[in-house]
């Protein structure tokens, strides 16, 4: 036996991986526990849609707002302010966030988030991969404000009305987030503090914004700090037409390193309320038609309720 054969046989008879261990590893890939929540495990619980308090204002505190399809009117206060660049949008969004009252949650209460999450699909992977446009799903999620009690996820397929309910394991991170910086400089440090996910520090920080806003409640000051910190991340551009769920939006965007895909954070074009996120295929990425929206999320409502399953 020569030297290479000896190495080749060395420990070669170790048994294969335990299937249970592999299945745990597979699950971990898609569902690494928060924080930060994983950006792309949108189909898995509890990651799935967006959360931020500003939407409460859109839905509840602005009854004077026109219907989504109506012609936009000027903001109710002072002269219209128009952002001319990506950083400007973030700064205006931060200013808007700071005007919002904070929601109050007591231990034992639940953060309720309603959103529409639309995910596309690729069918016939094995024969003729075909892109199928995003399917809209209404998500209502209840997560314990203090992370103790088990939560609940109720999904409704918008087109068919099919409802599905799933209990969510307890022991999650508190959905009412109180430990984030409220100062933009410290928030920026925090956004950049995690390990590089391999996409570069800026992309990692960029993704962390969405991970932090999604399906949990941030007090207005922390939310404003996130937007102010986001304004300092390099490589962002402004996309003026980015409507989501029938609402007229303006997006701050960043390209993935591969240049195939663009990630948008979308704000109301008039009020700069945070509306949601989307992913746009901008390069040649088979089987996607160029320019399609691969997935999008619109946050509709955030509230505090007493028990899982209770509507606000």
């Amino acid at each position: 036996m020569n030297d290479l054969e000896l190495v080749e046989r060395f420990r070669a008879d170790l048994p294969p991986a335990d299937p249970a261990a592999l299945s745990r590893a597979r699950a971990r890939m898609f569902h690494t526990p928060p924080p930060p929540r994983r950006r792309w495990a949108w189909g898995l619980v509890p990651a799935g849609a967006l959360a931020a308090a500003v939407t409460v204002a859109v839905v509840t505190a602005r009854p004077e707002d026109p219907a989504p399809t109506a012609v936009p009117t000027a903001p109710t206060t002072s002269a219209p302010v128009t952002a001319i660049d990506a950083a400007g949008v973030f700064r205006l969004a931060a200013a808007e966030a700071r005007t919002q009252p904070a929601l109050v949650a007591k231990p034992g209460q639940f953060v309720y988030v309603e959103s529409i999450d639309a995910t596309d699909n690729v069918e016939n992977l094995e024969t003729k991969p075909t892109w199928v446009p995003p399917k809209e799903i209404n998500r209502k999620i209840w997560l314990a404000a203090d992370g103790v009690k088990a939560g609940l996820l109720r999904t409704t397929v918008v087109k068919t009305g099919e409802v599905n309910e799933m209990p969510l394991d307890g022991r999650t991170a508190p959905a009412y987030v109180t430990d984030l910086p409220t100062d933009s400089k410290k928030m920026r440090d925090w956004l950049y503090s995690g390990p590089d996910t391999g996409n570069g520090a800026d992309a990692t920080a960029w993704n962390k914004i969405g991970d932090t806003l999604r399906e949990q409640y941030l007090p207005p000051d922390a939310q404003a700090a996130i937007f102010e910190a986001a304004a300092t991340i390099p490589g962002t551009t402004l996309v003026k037409q980015a409507d989501v769920a029938g609402r007229k939006g303006i997006a701050v965007s960043r390209l993935a390193d591969s240049k195939d895909v663009r990630f948008d954070y979308i704000f109301d074009a008039r009020t700069y309320d945070f509306l949601g996120e989307r992913v746009v295929v901008v390069g040649d990425l088979k089987p996607y038609p160029k320019g399609v929206v691969s997935r999008w999320t619109a946050q509709l409502r955030v509230a505090i309720v007493d028990r899982a399953g209770q509507l606000p």
């Binding site: 030297d3 195939d260 990425l285």
Partner: protein, 189 residues
């Protein structure tokens, strides 16, 4: 599970950028292989963790996967080899114990496998060399002989020139042959 044999790894990874679930297919294709490689270096228990870690990193980096490569195994092995650097001490300690006692801790410490006693002399000698190799040499040697990668694939995995793969392999083999009491000449590649 969907049959996706006609899709290359490259196709699946590209699709997975926008459709993350697709990356599950990459896991299903290669996890057992990567786990086996890791287990042979650090034992099955640590390999469980490192396999999860390898695929978690791969999953997060999938949007800048070099799409000129159809087979993603070298990429996965590269991530795994990099992670193993963080566990060198554990790896080396086990080689040393095997060289010294003839009992391989990788088997002995794992109640899921039958304990082996009295490894052959040449296996003990090999373990002694593995403990002393430079990390880069150990990576090349095991990727070539255990993972069965080609020289260009090893070069891709470790991000080094093919010439460096050759020279590291040559050096590692020479040390094994010396330890085994063979002459220094190399008869094959």
């Amino acid at each position: 599970m969907t049959h996706t044999e006609v899709m290359t790894d490259q196709d699946l990874i590209r699709i997975s950028v926008a459709q993350p679930e697709t990356f599950g297919q990459i896991f299903d294709r290669h996890a057992t292989t990567i786990h086996h490689y890791l287990a042979r270096r650090v034992g099955r228990s640590l390999a469980d963790d490192l396999t999860a870690e390898t695929f978690l990193i791969a999953f997060r980096r999938r949007d800048n996967y070099d799409v000129s490569h159809q087979d993603c195994r070298p990429w996965l092995y590269g991530i795994a080899a990099n992670l193993l650097r963080g566990h060198q001490r554990a790896e080396i300690r086990q080689y040393r114990a095997l060289a010294r006692t003839g009992v391989d801790p990788v088997y002995a410490a794992d109640d899921r496998v039958e304990a082996r006693v009295d490894a052959a002399d040449e296996v003990r000698a090999l373990a002694g060399v593995l403990a002393k190799l430079a990390p880069g040499e150990r990576d090349v040697l095991t990727l070539v002989s255990q993972a069965q990668l080609s020289y260009p694939e090893v070069a891709q995995a470790l991000g080094i020139p093919v010439g460096t793969v050759r020279s590291r392999l040559h050096s590692a083999r020479k040390r094994i042959r010396t330890a085994l009491g063979h002459d220094g000449g190399l008869d094959d590649e």
